[in-house]
């Protein structure tokens, strides 16, 4: 079983203004063992062979039919919507790909 906490350093601008490049976050890796991600959670996700940080927009299927068609999992999005590659591009992600929830911005 993995350790309960991980610390990450943010690279990139897609989570501005919430997270600036160079900021550290503390992640609780056990957050979703018994529960589902909730709208608004900041999560670390494994995608394309690396770890990315995004915000959960919806985890039970988006409201829009167009988005719902592409989504069977958790829809994550960057806070800086004009500068973010996220579920709008690569679709919803499986819960197993969510590594943990940000619980503290250092």
């Amino acid at each position: 079983m993995k350790a309960p906490f991980s610390r990450f350093k943010v690279f990139g601008n897609s989570m501005l203004p919430t997270l600036k490049p160079g900021q550290d976050v503390l992640v609780f890796n056990w957050a979703y063992i018994f529960s589902r991600p909730k709208k608004g959670d900041l999560v670390v996700v494994e995608h394309g062979g690396r770890e990315i940080i995004k915000r959960v927009q919806i985890s039970s299927g988006p409201a829009s039919p167009r988005l719902r068609r592409a989504s069977r999992g958790t829809f994550v999005i960057g806070d800086n919507k004009n500068c973010s590659t996220d579920s709008r591009n690569f679709g919803a992600i499986d819960k197993s790909k969510i590594l943990g929830k940000v619980i503290f911005i250092i």
Binding site: F5, S6, R7, F8, K9, V10, F11, G12, N13, S14, M15, L16, L19, P21, D24, V25, L26, V44, R50, E51, I52, I53, K54, S64, R66, L67, A70, G78, N80, K81, N82, C83, S84, T85, R88, N89, I103, F104, I106
Partner: protein, 144 residues
């Protein structure tokens, strides 16, 4: 306090708040410029056509004609490419919800690019400029 202490003990790994494409590189200006160039070339080709006479039907005149057609061809293609880049890489589903005719507009614009390659028609060149301006207008609204 405890969280702060735990944080300091842990090594920091990189996590990417990523964007595949750097911000701000999308711009409809290139497509607008290309569409205007198409119109200018159409007008210049028409001018050549109306001034055709045995005197100006020499190698230089033919060279000019070929160059104008070539520039029209290249810029119609460039316009199509720029519009399609905006469509595939910039516009997202949330934009489509706000502008439901976007797919059709892009499709019609790409077709206009092809029509401008095939023919020498001032009307079609103006239609292309109008369509690209409309896309640029949508682009600007998505930036607000």
């Amino acid at each position: 306090m405890v969280i702060n202490f735990i944080s300091k003990l842990l090594p920091a790994r990189p996590v990417y708040a990523h964007c595949d494409i750097p911000c701000g590189i999308y711009d409809p200006h290139m497509a607008q410029l290309a569409a205007k160039t198409v119109l200018t070339m159409v007008q210049k080709i028409k001018e050549l056509d109306s001034s055709a006479s045995p005197q100006n039907d020499n190698v230089n005149a033919r060279n000019n004609f070929v160059r104008m057609v070539m520039v029209k061809e290249e810029h119609a293609e460039l316009c199509k490419r720029e519009v399609l880049i905006l469509w595939t890489d910039y516009f997202k589903s949330e934009h489509l919800e706000k502008f439901p005719d976007l797919h059709d507009l892009i499709w019609q614009t790409a077709k206009l690019c092809s029509e401008n390659k095939r023919g020498v028609d001032e009307g079609k060149a103006m239609e292309l400029i109008k369509a690209v301006d409309e896309i640029a207008g949508i682009f600007e609204q998505t930036k607000k």
